[in-house]
């Protein structure tokens, strides 16, 4: 379909408004947890008599407009909460404010981590997946419960290795996923150099992944969007949690005050005793190795219509490792974010939220060897303003629009031997605006059209992105969906799968155009029988003008900015199947992904004797043809429950060396240098990956102070020695290939007290 046609349809969708003046009524308000006052995002609310429904937005707000006066039953539902029903009478012209407090279900019901079909209006949008916080906390995990590790279990999301929490979504690298914490971009969401993510499950209330074909509300990445919202804090009573683990511990506090609520959650590694023992017996054990993070939020309810919040996050990783005499490595890296938000109900039809955000990421490695130092100072400062408005003129249309503008500064400085060797400062202003209309002409059809305009000052780029999706509901148990979108990306990440502590972001500029891509998605969401769900999606996406650091550039000094990069293209397609069991003693889900991902860069993977500027498509290492994840939860008794996760995936792509030679005479070399000759890059596969993790949880009381929970976990129960990559030993002749393995069996225990 030509771009002009798409634009024409979008304009029609945006302008077409069937509303006309009449004396109608409306009902609106916030949906919250009755126990904590926490707003519930994407909860469903409906007027049963006229089959009019909607879901709460990312602020927990809902509104139903253009209602004929009369008596109705207002119903609301959300995962793990009792259904809410209230009889209401609406007068002509009345704007009824009803804040709904949903009551949490019993402990048994809380274990149901997947919602029923009728309760999942928004979540079942195409390409969208939600992970419940309870699931994240229940799943077996190394060191700490981890948001990203749980997201990696969803179809279409892959992990690079046991050591990397990076999200590889539908063939995209981690930098193709926009990660937002309370609307603020997080540039390096990792601890322990990528081992797990920065998000503290005690502080988080909502995690949502837009895997592809995402709406015009979001932009800036050609792949996907992960939104994370922290808790507002308990508005009813003071509450706290302390959790002690072998390698890390955490604590959180939350509660009400006269005009709102607060939340504070801290987490720190407690690995020092282990290091102290290691230092007695192992040379090179770290002198220092810790991480911490702090999440906080305070809410101020100024009026019934105005709510303000201030949220912050600060995380830091710090390591110092001595090696040999006269040499040491120090590395400090972390993120800080802050966001201030004003949410206002303007009228029964208009809701807005305005956000000021600040995000800083830094890494500061310092290596000193034999009196010669190498220092790097890398910073990102990103300050922005956002505005989002939602307008519901009638029961057919839901129009949203907004802008996001900011100033980004990326500073990068290398010093070698106390002299600056490379220094770069990029300052860029960015502005994007979007307009979107969700048009529901009947109960069977929903069309969503949108346009997003992006500008980026570094290089003076202006890009327009059309987005469109359609949903058809032939019956109550089936939804057929399709989506198309164009996406642009002005940033690229320089990283290494094995180590995220040195991550650097770079931007477009003159001669470095933004990457862009198109996404096509077809999907079906079904309810084959009560308590079950089965979803299928097929996607195809392109990646063009990909720009990333040329791996052959080992010294950037003296090079033009554009010379730092290689430019390429790629594509990905696949099928995702998701079967979930939502009710009964055993719950869980089974996800399967078949996927193909290819990349191409001129001069890379060219035939060895052919034109070196040629290129052939190749699979990146994280390409996995088949990927299966099974999670199951079983309530053994009133006190004991168990969780298990089994993962299977095709072995990752790797390059099998075919031949070898030697360069014996390099003028300054003391010994010959061995090299491989290879054929097709990454044309071989490591052995299949599979792993079983199990957790047992025992609930109880901590004296009379609060509820307590023991969690016993075994990671990699049968100690499968999955291969990370192969290492080649040139000291042997012929060369010997050695396995470098992933995680062995790891038992762990943690104790949590809620008071």
């Amino acid at each position: 379909m030509k771009l002009q046609h798409i634009l024409f349809i979008l304009v029609l969708l945006l302008l077409f408004d069937t509303g006309f003046a009449r004396q109608t009524a409306s009902v609106n308000g916030y949906i919250t947890d009755s126990r904590t006052g926490e707003t519930l995002l994407m909860a469903n609310v409906a007027l049963l008599e006229i089959n009019r429904g909607t879901s709460s937005n990312t602020s927990g707000y809902y509104t139903i407009t253009n209602i004929e006066p009369g008596s109705y039953t207002l119903a609301a539902s959300y995962i793990g909460y009792r259904r809410f029903e209230l009889e209401i009478d609406l007068e002509p012209g009345q704007n009824l404010r009803i804040n709904i407090e949903l009551i949490p279900e019993s402990v048994e019901m809380e274990a149901l981590v997947v919602e029923a079909e009728a309760e999942r209006e928004e979540q079942r949008n195409i390409g969208t997946a939600q992970v419940s916080m309870q699931l994240i906390k229940d799943l077996p995990s190394v060191i700490e419960p981890d948001v990203f590790r749980s997201v990696q279990l969803l179809p279409g999301v892959k992990a690079a290795s046991d050591f990397s929490s990076g999200l590889y979504v539908r063939g995209g690298s981690p930098d193709q996923t926009l990660i937002l914490l309370d609307e603020t971009t997080v540039y390096n969401p990792t601890h322990f150099f990528g081992f797990f993510s920065t998000f503290n499950p005690d502080a988080v209330k909502d995690v949502r992944l837009y895997k592809g074909g995402y709406p015009a509300q979001y932009g800036g990445r050609i792949g996907s969007v992960l939104t994370v919202y922290n808790k507002d804090g308990n508005r009813v009573e003071n509450q706290g949690t302390v959790s002690l683990g072998l390698l890390a511990s955490r604590a959180s506090f939350e509660g009400p005050y006269s005009r709102g609520s607060y939340m504070l959650a801290v987490r720190r590694s407690t690995i020092e005793p282990v290091l102290a023992v290691l230092r007695q017996s192992i040379d090179g054990a770290p002198d220092l190795f810790y991480f911490y993070d702090v999440n906080g939020k305070i809410n101020f309810d100024a009026t019934d219509n105005d709510r303000f919040s201030l949220a912050f996050y600060a995380g830091n990783d710090n390591v110092a490792i001595p090696f040999q005499d006269d040499a040491n490595i120090r590395l400090k890296y972390g993120n800080q974010t802050v966001s201030a938000q004003w949410r206002r109900i303007f009228t029964d039809k208009i809701f807005g939220f305005f956000t000021a955000t600040g995000s800083r990421y830094f890494n500061q490695p310092n290596v000193s060897i034999a009196g010669t130092s190498f220092e790097r100072d890398n910073d990102i400062f990103d300050f922005s303003l956002k505005a989002d408005l939602e307008y519901l003129p009638n029961e057919y249309h839901s129009i949203s629009g907004g802008f996001w503008g900011g100033n980004m500064v990326l500073r990068f400085r290398d010093r070698f031997d106390n002299v600056d060797t490379f220094s770069n400062r990029i300052q860029s202003q960015y502005l994007s605006a979007y307009l979107q209309n969700r048009w529901r002409p009947s109960n069977e059809w929903i069309f969503t059209g949108g346009l997003r305009l992006n500008t980026f000052s570094e290089g003076n780029y202006v890009r327009l992105e059309p987005r469109i999706s359609a949903e058809y509901r032939p019956g109550s148990r089936v939804r057929l969906q399709a989506a198309y979108g164009r996406y642009n990306q002005f940033l690229t990440l320089i990283s290494n799968e094995a180590f995220s502590g040195l991550d650097i972001w770079l931007t477009t500029d003159e001669g470095v155009p933004p990457a862009y891509g198109d996404q096509f998605v077809l999907g079906a969401k079904t309810v084959p029988r009560s308590g079950w769900g089965f979803d299928a999606e097929i996607y195809y996406r392109t990646m063009r003008d990909l720009f990333e650091l040329d791996p052959f550039v080992t010294d950037a000094a003296g090079l033009d900015y554009a010379e730092l990069f290689r430019f390429g293209e790629g594509y990905a397609y696949g099928v995702e199947l998701f079967l979930e069991k939502q009710r009964g003693p055993v719950t869980g889900f089974l996800g399967y992904t078949y996927s193909i991902t290819r990349r191409k860069f001129p001069g890379f993977n060219a035939p060895i004797l052919d034109d070196p500027t040629r290129a052939r498509f190749y699979p990146p290492k994280y390409d996995r043809t088949h990927d299966v994840n099974l999670t199951a939860n079983y309530q053994l008794s009133s006190r004991w429950s168990t969780n298990a996760v089994f993962s299977y995936a095709t072995g990752q792509a790797y390059t099998e060396p075919l031949g070898r030679t030697q360069f014996a005479d390099i003028p300054w070399a003391n010994s010959p240098r061995d090299t491989f000759t290879i054929g097709n890059l990454n044309a071989s596969r490591l052995p299949s990956y599979h792993r079983l993790d199990i957790a047992f949880t025992r609930s109880g009381r901590f004296f009379d102070l609060g509820d307590a929970e023991w969690q016993f976990q075994i990671i990699n129960v049968y100690s499968r020695r999955n291969v990370w990559f192969y290492n080649y030993d040139f000291d042997e002749n012929p060369i010997v290939r050695n396995d470098v393995n992933l995680l062995p069996i790891i038992p762990s225990v943690s104790y949590t007290v809620n008071f």
Binding site: Q324, T661, A664, T677
Partner: protein, 302 residues
């Protein structure tokens, strides 16, 4: 529902069937290795063949003895100006050396040379070019004695040279004149004691490739370099060599380091090296060098 399932199965089957990417077979390749040094005689040239990865490899055994090898000095317009034939030497190393009539030629800075290799019993025709960097010239005196890790580092002043590429690429190396274990500096002594490296591998301690852009150019066009302490493996007398390399040598060394790991490539993703050679692989590179002599003395207490 049944139709939907059928459609799904057909779609998956189509997807699975339409994308294959296979490993290819080993191919024997001709390997060239030669480095011309400005203002020195023509270099020896290695002509060998690759070996399958699972077989024993010996560079001398891999040498190809029956090639026709010549180096050609090109004129300004690219014509052949002078041809230098080579002969195979069965002695140690088994490489090609300039024939007697070629042995008097001194490699000229700023000039381009072509290497031609052909065979009677192989199809390959090998051709490669190198442009010799301008002669590196260290001007001024250097300190005769320098206290290791003191505030006074070895400073080298390089004369302004003519460019053959966008920017010069340097390598610095310290060649110990008294490489005994007692002279090792603490870091390298620990490396040898731990068995991480052989003492012989430290006799020449090189910096790796460094772009000219790393150094501040003086107003008169000269470049001042401070020799880093990490370049000093042995105390005592050292020759400090400053070399400027051509793009071929730069490419082969950088890409060889990349193949061993590091950089932004994930582990296991191994690219081929960058070979600026037609018909084969390897390197026909060039460099120019200048050398100073200094003595690194131990600081008090070492």
């Amino acid at each position: 529902m049944k139709k939907l399932t059928t459609l799904l199965i057909i779609s998956i089957s189509l997807l699975i069937g339409c994308d294959s990417y296979q490993q290819d077979d080993y191919e024997e390749l001709v390997v060239i290795e030669a480095y011309a040094v400005a203002n020195r005689p023509l270099p020896h040239i290695r002509v060998s063949k690759t070996s399958p990865i699972n077989e024993e490899f010996n560079l001398s055994d891999a040498a190809i003895p029956n090639a026709t090898v010549q180096v050609v000095l090109l004129g300004d317009n690219g014509d052949d100006e002078e041809i230098f034939p080579y002969n195979f030497s069965e002695g140690f190393g088994r490489f090609y050396i300039p024939a007697i009539e070629s042995s008097g030629h001194i490699v000229l800075p700023m000039r381009t040379y072509r290497l031609d290799v052909s065979f009677n019993d192989r199809d390959e025709i090998i051709r490669a070019y190198t442009t010799i960097p301008d002669q590196v010239e260290i001007i001024g005196d250097v300190a005769g004695d320098i206290v290791y890790q003191s505030d006074e580092q070895l400073e080298i002043l390089i004369a302004e040279g003519r460019r053959t590429q966008n920017q010069s690429i340097y390598v610095f190396s310290a060649i110990s004149q008294d490489p005994v274990i007692e002279n090792l500096t603490p870091f390298f002594r620990a490396s040898v004691d731990d068995g991480n490296i052989e003492l012989a591998d430290l006799i020449t301690n090189a910096s790796g490739l460094i772009n000219e852009g790393n150094f501040q150019r003086n107003e008169d066009g000269t470049v001042t370099l401070r020799f880093p302490w990490i370049g000093v493996a042995f105390l005592g007398p050292n020759l400090v060599v400053t070399s400027s390399v051509d793009t071929n040598l730069d490419a082969i060394v950088r890409s060889q380091q990349l193949q061993l790991g590091g950089s932004t490539l994930p582990p296991g993703e191994i690219p081929n090296l960058i070979y600026n050679i037609e018909g084969g692989i390897g390197v026909f590179g060039s460099l120019s060098s200048d050398t100073v002599r200094t003595n690194f003395t131990p600081p008090p207490g070492l």
